[in-house]
Symmetry: C2
Subunit: 181 residues, 2 copies
DNA sequence: TGCAGCATGTAACCTGTTACATGATTAG
DNA sequence: CTAATCATGTAACAGGTTACATGCTGCA
């Protein structure tokens, strides 16, 4: 129930009620392209959310054979999303789910207080720096025996993490002076 | 047969023959941490590679009930890997498989000629820039109505792509003056 | 002798992919 | 009226996760 796709759908529904097709269109045509827009992923995900009581579908024009269903978050769905968003970033998140950082952040403004968002960015920065340091230390000894391309690949990974650090700091500074988010 | 995990294993085996456990240790203890080190992923992956004729396991000490198996790439495995590495980067690679870029690059030095590696970097740069441009254009109109956190999340995605561009250019320049890779 | 670490595997489950199937609505 | 697009779904399959099961090896 906690795949990136489920969270993305949960987040979208938290902004406004949507049909499965609308969700698909968002994944197809906006910056959310890295989420699957295939019906074989979306409709089962919507069904799972509903089965878990996180959303409720209401049928528009019930008399037809193929009714159009609009899903909206339930109270439970909102609190589940809020809880997920408020969780501090762990090293495991960074190693295995770095892509879900922007996903989480995108929905924070509309669900968490500014202070919690700032906490998230602080925690993220700390964890990222610690992980970068440990990676660098770990690879210091291997560095010389690694062929050029492996070294370069490793550096790309590091640069990626450092980009996240810079982004977190910049975003922190922008946010801390804002009145509303 | 073409998940990131399979490719990573194929790549590691191309450097030297390994047992399943050695592969697991590499994924656990080196910068390759984002690959699953669980036996439930590794051993089936090794079996798939062997079933496809891409690797061959040889049993060390065959008389025991739990033999230690060392896998080595076959000719077919090497050519499959080479073919995969030589494929130019598509927009789909960037959208859905950005993480496999460093994976691919890490093994290029030992399998492709320098010219092909430079081609890869050129193609990657072109595709990345085109995608960044299209994302920016796409979002120009939505920008103002997006809440701060969504905007920031979008910028993180962009920065990530731009980091890849900078890396590709830097690596290109480093590589083009090198005699051996 | 017993325990830690080396080493290999399987089974149930979950979720996404691919391909297919179907119905409803609208513009030409 | 018919083609495109809107819209919803399923079935077979693939591959990873989690949890469990098992055997071997060296050393204290």
């Amino acid at each position: 129930m906690d795949s990136d796709l489920s969270i993305a759908v949960l987040g979208l529904l938290s902004l406004r009620p949507l049909s499965g097709y609308s969700v698909r269109k968002i994944f197809l045509t906006t910056a959310w392209k890295s989420f699957s827009s295939s019906p074989g992923a979306i409709y089962p995900a919507l069904n799972r959310l509903e089965a878990a009581g996180l959303s409720k579908g209401s049928v528009e024009k019930g008399e037809t054979l193929r009714p159009r269903k609009i899903y909206a978050l339930t109270k439970k769905g909102e609190s589940t999303l809020k809880q997920y968003l408020a969780k501090p970033v762990t090293r495991e998140d960074i190693i295995w789910r770095l892509n879900s950082i922007p996903l989480r952040f995108a929905f924070m403004g509309t669900h968490l207080e500014k202070e919690r968002v700032l906490d998230f960015l602080t925690g993220l920065t700390t964890e990222l720096n610690a992980y970068v340091d440990s990676l660098v230390a770990e690879n210091k000894s291997l560095e010389n025996e690694m062929p050029f391309c492996s070294q370069a690949a490793f550096r790309l990974g590091l640069e990626n993490l450092r980009t996240h650090v810079r982004w977190a700091q910049k975003t922190y500074n922008e946010l801390k002076d804002k009145k509303e988010i």
